[in-house]
C-alpha cells in the first residue's frame, strides 16, 4: 500500500482529495468490539479530537460488567457512542449513523440500532467460523445483503494493522492491540477529524513505552491512509464547529466533574475533604480521581465495607471535615442505618448515589433511576433528608458544591444522586472562574451558647441547624448519639412530647430548605399545554425532545428538577399551569408517585428500565401521543 503522510488537521486534507465532502450538522458514531479491543479508548479519542475541533458532543459508553467476558461472545461486547454536532446537542443520539463492528458479536448486538443507509465498518478477519458460532450466526452476515441496506466498508484490519506496526518494536499478541487505532484513523479520515490530539495523547499516555507509541501512531496513520488511498467511501463527512458560548472548555465525565466538585466544595467550605468509600461500580472512579489529589489535602479512605465507609465519614464529620461517601444502590441499602445516625446526630455529610440497574446486583454497568425512593424513604423512623439529582456530567461540579452548602448550613446529611449515564458519559464543560465560586463556609462553634454549659441542640433561629462544635474546642465537650435527645440540651430523653417536638423539628428543618433553593425554571413555548418534568440524566433527552417539537411547531414546556427534597417552592404552581404533566423516568414511576402524592395531580408517566437512556424519539412519541389524545 502506498503511504501518504496524512495532514494533521482535517481542513488541510482537501487539496487533492478525490472524494466528496459532505457537511452535516451532526453525526452519531458507535465503536463496538470485544472488551479487549480498546473500543472505549477509540471512542474517547474520537471524542477528544472532536472537542478540540470545536464540536459540541455527548457520549454514551456501554460495557459489560465482566472485566473480560470470553473473547468474541455477545456478553463481551463493549461499545462507545458519541454524537458530534455543530450546535448545542443534548444526547449521544438515538441511532448511529456509523457503526464500527470489530467482530461478529459486536455486529449482532449493535446492528439493529444502525440507521438504514448508515455506514457499517467491519473487520472482515474477525468473521471466521469460530467467532461466527460464538456470536450465534449460522451464516456469515457479510455474505448476506448487508451492503444493500448499509454503506458497508469491509477491511482486513488484522493484516493491515500487523503490516503497519511491523517496524515499531511491538511483537506477539501486542501487535493486534493497535487495531483500535487503525479503526480510529479510518474514522478520522471519514469524518475529517484531526489526528493531532490523538497523537499527542498517545505520546503522553505511553511515554514510557516508545514501541507502543510507535505502533499506535503507525496504526492510526495507516487507518487514515487506507481510507484516503483506497477511497474506502465515496463521501466523507464534516461537522463544523459548534457555536458554543465563548470561554475555555474541557471534556468531562460526570464522575470526574463530581470528584472535582467535591474538592471545590471543600475549598468553598474551608474544610478538609474526607472521602470514605467502598469500591462499587459505577462510583469507584470518584475514589480513583480523588485519591490522585492528595496535594489538595484530600483524605481518601477505602473502608472494609459500605457501613464502615459511612461510619468513618460520620466520625470525620464529627471531627470537623467535609465528609463524603460514594456508592451505588446496594451500598445505599447498607448505609441506611448509619445515615439515620448522621441524621439524628445532625452531622453534615454527603452520600453520593451513582445509580445503576437493580434490584440487588442487577446490571451494575447499566443506567437506571430507580433509587429515588430509597433516597427519599430508605431509612427507619421519620427521617427526611435533602435529595439532589445531577442532570448532566458537567453539572455534577456545581451540584457537589450545592450539596455541601446545604449539608453544612443545615447540619444534615444530603443525598446527591448521579447515575451510570451521568457518571460515564461526557460533554464539553465551560470552565467556571474558580474565583467566583461561592463561599459556603459556616464557622464552628467556639464558645458556649449556654453559659457554663454547652447546649449542642440549641438551634440557629433561621436554619434550625444545631451548632457544629468539633473536638479540640475547650469548654464545648459534649456527647451525641443515636438515642433521642432532649431539645436544646441534647441529653437522652424518652419524654413523649420531646420526641414529637424533635421529630417535627427535624422534618421542618429539611422542609424549610425549600426557601433556600432556586425556583424551578420552566422553558415553555407560548401556548404549551403539556409540561415534561424530569430529573437526573433524562435531561438531555427531554431537552432534545423539546427542540424537535419546537421545530415542528408543537408547543411544549419542559422543567428539570435538581432538588427532589425539598421540592422547589414554586413546583406546585408550575404543575398547576399545564393541562398535562408527563414525567419520563428510567424507573417505574417513582417521581410521578411523589408528585401525585404531594400535589394531587394526575401526572402521566413514561417509564423504561432497559438499562439504557431514553431515546429522544421515545419521549417525542409519548408527547405526541398525549397531544393527539387532547385534540
Amino acid at each position: 500500500m502506498e503511504t501518504i503522510a496524512p495532514p494533521l488537521e482535517a481542513d488541510k486534507n482537501q487539496t487533492d482529495h478525490p472524494n466528496d465532502r459532505l457537511t452535516v450538522d451532526k453525526i452519531v458514531i458507535r465503536f463496538a468490539g470485544d472488551s479487549g479491543d480498546g473500543m472505549q479508548v477509540a471512542g474517547g479519542r474520537f471524542t477528544d479530537a472532536s472537542a478540540y475541533f470545536g464540536n459540541d458532543l455527548s457520549t454514551l459508553p456501554s460495557f459489560p460488567a465482566e472485566i473480560r467476558a470470553p473473547a468474541g461472545t455477545l456478553p463481551g461486547v463493549s461499545s462507545f457512542q458519541v454524537q458530534i454536532a455543530d450546535y448545542d446537542i443534548l444526547t449521544a443520539g438515538d441511532a448511529p449513523d456509523c457503526l464500527v463492528a470489530m467482530n461478529p458479536a459486536a455486529l449482532r448486538t449493535n446492528l439493529n440500532d444502525l440507521r438504514p443507509g448508515g455506514t457499517l465498518i467491519v473487520n472482515t478477519e474477525a468473521f471466521d467460523e469460530r467467532n461466527l458460532v460464538k456470536a450465534g450466526y449460522k451464516e456469515n452476515p457479510l455474505e448476506s445483503d448487508l451492503a444493500q441496506v448499509y454503506r458497508l466498508i469491509e477491511i482486513p484490519m488484522d493484516t493491515l494493522t500487523k503490516e503497519a506496526v511491523k517496524d515499531s518494536g511491538v511483537s506477539g499478541r501486542d501487535v493486534l492491540r493497535s487495531k483500535n487505532f487503525f479503526a480510529l484513523g479510518l474514522l478520522a479520515w471519514l469524518f475529517n477529524r484531526p489526528l493531532e490530539p490523538t497523537i499527542d495523547w498517545v505520546e503522553t499516555k505511553f511515554a514510557k513505552k516508545p514501541s507502543v507509541v510507535a505502533a499506535n501512531i503507525s496504526a492510526l496513520r495507516a487507518g487514515w491512509n487506507f481510507g484516503f488511498t483506497t477511497e474506502a467511501a465515496k463521501t466523507t463527512f464534516e461537522v463544523r464547529p459548534a457555536a458554543l458560548r465563548p470561554g475555555t472548555y474541557t471534556n468531562v465525565t460526570g464522575n470526574t466533574a463530581l470528584a472535582w466538585g467535591l474538592i471545590a466544595a471543600a475549598q468553598c467550605a474551608k474544610l478538609p475533604l474526607f472521602y470514605g468509600t467502598y469500591p462499587i461500580t459505577p462510583a469507584s472512579d470518584i475514589l480513583h480521581e480523588l485519591s490522585m489529589h492528595k496535594n489538595f489535602g484530600v483524605r481518601t479512605f477505602q473502608a472494609e465495607d459500605e457501613i464502615a465507609a459511612i461510619g468513618a465519614v460520620i466520625g470525620a464529620a464529627f471531627a470537623g471535615n467535609l465528609g463524603v461517601t460514594g456508592t451505588s444502590g446496594p451500598g445505599v441499602a447498607l448505609k441506611s442505618e448509619a445515615l439515620s445516625l448522621a441524621l439524628n446526630t445532625e452531622l453534615p455529610l454527603i452520600l453520593v448515589d451513582v445509580q445503576r440497574a437493580g434490584p440487588s446486583t442487577g446490571m451494575p454497568t447499566k443506567v437506571e433511576q430507580s433509587d429515588l425512593f430509597i433516597a427519599m424513604f430508605g431509612r427507619h423512623g421519620e427521617a427526611p433528608l435533602p435529595v439532589i439529582a445531577i442532570p448532566t456530567p458537567a453539572e455534577a461540579f456545581d451540584l457537589a458544591i450545592e450539596a455541601a452548602r446545604i449539608a453544612i448550613k443545615y447540619m444534615t446529611p444530603v443525598i446527591l444522586m448521579s447515575d451510570n449515564h451521568v457518571a460515564n458519559s461526557s460533554e464539553p464543560w465551560l470552565l467556571p472562574d474558580v474565583e467566583s465560586l461561592p463561599d459556603i463556609s459556616i464557622p464552628f462553634a467556639v464558645s458556649s451558647n449556654g453559659g457554663g454549659h454547652f447546649l449542642p441542640y440549641e438551634r440557629n433561629y433561621e436554619t434550625f441547624a444545631r451548632p457544629w462544635a468539633v473536638p479540640g474546642t475547650a469548654g464545648l465537650e459534649h456527647r451525641i448519639g443515636g438515642l433521642e435527645k432532649e431539645a436544646v440540651t441534647g441529653n437522652v430523653s424518652y419524654d413523649p412530647d420531646n420526641h414529637q417536638l424533635m421529630t417535627d423539628t427535624r422534618a421542618w428543618k429539611i422542609a424549610n430548605i425549600a426557601s433556600d433553593i432556586p425556583a424551578l425554571e420552566v422553558k415553555a413555548d407560548p401556548g404549551a399545554e403539556i409540561l415534561v418534568l424530569g430529573w437526573g440524566s433524562t435531561y438531555g433527552a427531554i431537552r432534545a425532545t423539546a427542540n424537535r417539537l419546537r421545530n415542528r411547531a408543537k408547543p411544549i414546556a419542559i422543567a428539570h428538577l435538581r432538588h427532589l427534597n425539598p421540592f422547589p417552592a414554586n413546583l406546585g404552581e408550575v404543575l398547576a399551569s399545564y393541562r398535562t404533566v408527563l414525567i419520563p423516568e428510567l424507573n417505574n414511576g417513582q417521581l410521578r408517585k411523589l408528585i401525585r402524592a404531594e400535589y394531587l395531580i394526575d401526572a402521566k408517566g413514561l417509564n423504561k428500565v432497559a438499562g439504557e437512556p431514553f431515546k429522544v424519539a421515545e419521549i417525542e412519541a409519548a408527547v405526541l401521543g398525549l397531544m393527539e389524545q387532547a385534540s
Binding site: 477528544d48 470545536g54 472535582w260 492528595k294 471531627a319 456527647r479 437522652v492
Partner: protein, 336 residues
C-alpha cells in the same frame, strides 16, 4: 499549652449513671476517669466513641467529646476521627456482642490498620441490654433465654482474634482490679497505634460470677497468670506453677519439675506474635489458669501518620492544590 490539673470529678458528667447496681461497668468507669485525670491530655482533646450495649452508654458519663453510635460500628466511626485528627486521643468502648458479633468486621480491620485508637472491650460473655441472650464469648452449652438447651456456638477467644488481626497492642485486664486496669490503660495510651484491651466485666444480673475463677478469693491465687514484661511467667500462691513453650504451644508446668531456664520470660515486644498467641491459648475463657496483662506491644507506623505523610509528600511534590489548574488538567480548548 499546659494541661490543666484534673481530678476524677472533672471527667464526670451531670448524667445519672444507669447501669444496674453492682455492674462491673462502674469500677471500669471509675478507673478510666481516675486514669484520665492524670493522663496529661486536655479534656477537649479526648473523644469516646461507643456502639450499642450496656458498655456503650459509657460516653454519656465521660466529660469529654463523645458519640454513642450504632451497633458494632464504633471502630469505623473512631477511624474517621483518628484519620483526620491525629491531635486527638480517641477511645472506643464496646462489648462482646458489639465488637465481636455485629461489629466483628470493623474490629479486625481497625486492628490491622493501626489507627491511634484505644479499644476497650468489656467482655461479660452475655447480652445484657437485650436481657440475657448468649454472646460470641459465651461458653458452649450456655443456657440463656435464647438457648434453653444450651448454646451450640463455639466462642471467640478475643485475645487470639486480636493477635490474628495483626493488632499491635493486645492486653487483658479485669474490672475488679483497678490498679491493674489503670496500668493497662496507661500502657495503651502510651502505645502509638491501635490498643486492644479485653476487660473481663461481671454482669451481676445475667451472668453473675462468670469470672469467679479470677476474682474469687481462693480461685484467684490459683488461676491468675500475670504477664509482666521481662519476668518469668509463673503463678500460684508461691509461684509453684509456670509456663513453658514446648511442642509449638504454651504449657503449664510445675516449676519444680523443670529447669528454671525453661520457664518463658515474658517479652511483650517480640516481633513475631507466635508466643503471644500461644499464651492466649492457655485459656479459652476465664475458667482456669488465665493470663492477664499485655500479650503484645509492638511498634508499627500508625495509619494516620502515613496518610498525613502522603498528603505532605504530594504537596511537596506538586505544591498545594490549584483548583483552576485541576479543572483544566484534562486539556482545554477555547471558543471565541
Amino acid at each position: 499549652m499546659t494541661t490543666p490539673t484534673y481530678t476524677r470529678a472533672d471527667f464526670q458528667t451531670d448524667q445519672e449513671v444507669r447501669w444496674c447496681p453492682g455492674c462491673g461497668d462502674y469500677t471500669i468507669l471509675a478507673a478510666v476517669q481516675g486514669f484520665m485525670a492524670g493522663m496529661g491530655v486536655p479534656r477537649e482533646k479526648i473523644v469516646f466513641v461507643s456502639g450499642i450495649g450496656c458498655s456503650s452508654r459509657f460516653p454519656y458519663y465521660m466529660n469529654t467529646y463523645g458519640m454513642h453510635s450504632i451497633h458494632g460500628r464504633a471502630p469505623a466511626i473512631a477511624s474517621g476521627i483518628a484519620a483526620t485528627r491525629p491531635d486527638l486521643s480517641v477511645w472506643v468502648v464496646t462489648g462482646d456482642g458489639d465488637a465481636l458479633s455485629i461489629g466483628g468486621n470493623h474490629l479486625i480491620h481497625a486492628l490491622r490498620r493501626n489507627f491511634n485508637l484505644k479499644i476497650l472491650l468489656f467482655n461479660n460473655q452475655i447480652y445484657g441490654l437485650t436481657k440475657g441472650q448468649y454472646s460470641p464469648t459465651s461458653e458452649v452449652g450456655k443456657q440463656t433465654k435464647s438457648t434453653p438447651m444450651g448454646s451450640v456456638d463455639y466462642p471467640f477467644n478475643p485475645i487470639s482474634l486480636a493477635l490474628g488481626a495483626e493488632a499491635s497492642f493486645v492486653a487483658r485486664t479485669i474490672d475488679m482490679d483497678r490498679t491493674h486496669t489503670t496500668e493497662i490503660l496507661k500502657a495503651a495510651h502510651e502505645h502509638q497505634g491501635t490498643a486492644f484491651i479485653e476487660i473481663y466485666q461481671n454482669c451481676n444480673v445475667f451472668n453473675d460470677k462468670a469470672f469467679v475463677a479470677l476474682t474469687g478469693k481462693d480461685e484467684r491465687a490459683i488461676n491468675r497468670i500475670d504477664l509482666v514484661h521481662g519476668k518469668p511467667i509463673t503463678f500460684g500462691p508461691a509461684g509453684e506453677r509456670g509456663v513453658i513453650f514446648d511442642d509449638g504451644r504454651a504449657q503449664i508446668v510445675e516449676t519444680a519439675a523443670v529447669d528454671s531456664s525453661r520457664i518463658l520470660v515474658h517479652d511483650q515486644h517480640r516481633g513475631d506474635p507466635t508466643i503471644a498467641f500461644a499464651l492466649s491459648r492457655l485459656s479459652h475463657g476465664p475458667y482456669g489458669p488465665t493470663p492477664l496483662g499485655i500479650f503484645r506491644s509492638v511498634r508499627r507506623p500508625t495509619y494516620e501518620t502515613v496518610m498525613s505523610q502522603q498528603l505532605a509528600d504530594a504537596q511537596g511534590r506538586r505544591g498545594p492544590g490549584d483548583l483552576a489548574q485541576l479543572i483544566s488538567s484534562a486539556g482545554t480548548w477555547q471558543v471565541n
